[in-house]
């Protein structure tokens, strides 16, 4: 059986950054397993720009960002296997992979990094009534068809969901010659970046219908149109507000779900708030030697955060292997999200065994203006940071200094204080 110090599941931005960091921290025997025929993950189809402002101080497109990392992986001689699907990860870190070249093979790993990314919420999970014709796609699938296959799925488009993927596709379809009639958004606010509202909707005069949703899909074999209705505070459609929008394409951008089937089958504890693994400050999951980073851990907005987080995971995996096992001999303190904070990553910190400052990443539950992010342990305030505005669609990143955390023995609370 082939043996590795580190097996990384996924060769997207998370997997690549983790691999580079692990190698920089001394691990030689690494392999990245990637199901696609090239490294890069989802970035390969994200041909728009906005990537890398923090990491490279440049604004790059998705493929450019991916290529920077892929070039480094190759330059460092880090092995990777493409067209390889991981079928199973066992608790004792035996990874079962499948590829044309190797067939079904078990490999043994001293450490594993989960970097499988996420999937899109499909129409069926949204319970949108109506027919099931051709022409209904999740935004990412449409993006793949347009950008990687050169195929435009339709000419008259309606988009449900104002997340970034939906907004980006509104612009993309328009530039490819389609007409985007509207973007409907269930919530009273958009979940996408403001710059995308400007560049993708305002620039093209595409209306954004907040507090609206699709209530019917018409057309038995081919999509003929959708019915959009306004919703009330309970998100229930308001009778009488229905409007028919003829279209041949409906794009759904209604949420991303971390792809944790392998993690669940392995026995990794999952946080129901993120649908990703529960991890400590080193991004180690509930199973020794198994780490998680990137969208599989929690869905990110900025790939720069993914790269930083994944570098941390790579370093932790390297430490784990060099130590010959987990160092966590002390009980960690819990990190508790409250008062406006929906979840935190990590969910626990081994304050007695820190090797550096700790990033806490979180999302808020609603829109908060002129507020403060407060982190305390008991009565002890570890951090207070003012913010003009916090929104659920933008992940927050705070750094708690090692010296502030070292003596903490009480649970750490992260919350929002409104002025």
């Amino acid at each position: 059986m082939r043996e590795f110090d580190l097996v990384i599941v996924g060769g997207g931005p998370a997997g690549m950054a983790a691999a580079i960091s692990a190698r920089e921290n001394g691990l030689e025997n690494i392999v990245i397993l990637e199901r696609d025929s090239e490294l890069g993950g989802i970035l390969n189809q994200c041909i728009h720009n906005g990537f890398g402002l923090h990491t490279f101080k440049e604004e790059l497109t998705g493929p450019e960002y991916a290529e920077r990392y892929a070039e480094k992986v190759i330059a460092m001689g880090i092995p990777y296997e493409t067209d390889t699907m991981v079928l199973n990860i066992s608790k004792d870190r035996v990874v079962t992979l499948l590829s044309k070249g190797r067939g079904v093979e078990d490999i043994r790993a001293k450490s594993v990094i989960l970097a499988m990314g996420c999937r899109e919420r499909p129409r069926g999970a949204l319970n949108i009534p109506g027919y099931r014709p051709q022409g209904v796609y999740t935004a990412g699938t449409a993006q793949k068809l347009v950008n990687c296959e050169g195929y435009l799925p339709g000419k008259e488009v309606v988009i449900l969901g104002s997340g970034d993927i939906g907004l980006i596709m509104a612009r993309r379809m328009t530039l490819e010659g389609a007409h985007v009639a509207a973007v409907a958004e269930l919530m009273p606010y958009s979940s996408g970046l403001k710059r995308n509202i400007v560049q993708c909707l305002d620039d093209y005069g595409i209306p954004l219908l907040l507090s609206h949703t699709v209530v019917d899909i018409k057309g038995k074999e081919k999509l003929e149109g959708v019915v959009i209705a306004q919703v009330d505070e309970k998100k229930a459609p308001i009778a009488g507000t229905e409007q028919f929008y003829p279209c041949d394409t409906l794009l759904l951008s209604c949420g991303l779900i971390p792809e944790n089937e392998l993690s669940k089958n392995c026995g990794v504890d999952i946080d129901p708030r993120t649908n990703g693994p529960l991890v400590d400050e080193g991004l180690e999951t509930s199973i020794d030697g198994v780490f998680a980073c990137g969208n599989v851990l929690h869905v990110h907005d900025l790939v720069d955060f993914v790269s930083e987080e994944s570098a941390r995971a790579g370093a932790s995996a390297a430490d784990f292997v060099k130590r010959g096992g987990t160092a966590d001999s002390t009980e960690p303190v819990k990190v508790i999200p409250q008062n406006g904070v929906r979840y935190t990553v990590p969910s626990k910190i081994h304050t007695a065994e820190l090797t550096g400052d700790v990033h806490i990443r979180f999302r808020v539950t609603g829109v908060f203006k002129d507020c403060s992010i407060v982190v305390k342990a008991g009565e002890n305030e570890l951090l207070r940071r003012k913010s003009r505005i916090l929104v659920p669609s933008e992940m927050q990143d705070i750094i708690i200094r090692q010296d502030k955390l070292a003596d903490v023995s009480e649970d750490i609370c992260v919350e929002i204080e409104e002025v």
């Binding site: 390969n44 041909i47 728009h48 720009n49 906005g50 402002l53 604004e59 790059l60 497109t61 493929p63 450019e64 290529e67 347009v146 950008n147 990687c148 296959e149 050169g150 530039l175 490819e176 970046l193 403001k194 710059r195 509202i197 400007v198 560049q199 620039d203 907005d301 900025l302 933008e394």
Partner: protein, 116 residues
Amino acid sequence: MTRELTCINCPMGCELTVEVEGDKVISVSGNTCKRGEIYAHSEISAPTRTVTTTVISSEGRPVPVKTAQPIPKDMIFECTAAIKSAEVHLPVKVGQIIIEDLLGTGAQVTATKTIK
């Protein structure tokens, strides 16, 4: 007159308040960096955008490209059309110039992915 703009330079999306007289900018506030001020000026007088799209290579493969410098916003559609009609043959390297000067704007169009 006061105009409210959202800066699109980076994901911060600062809300800018711009005092204008005709098409002259008097003052800019709300920005957290210099680029926001520059954006306010250009957005009022001569808005520009970066265009990202794909060109189908002669082998039938979509090649992602971008305008390496921003182009006038009101030329987005004609620029996109010009880009899409460019001739591209594989292999291409990331950064390779596909069009030297896009419709006289001075902007280069470069490939954003190496495809063999």
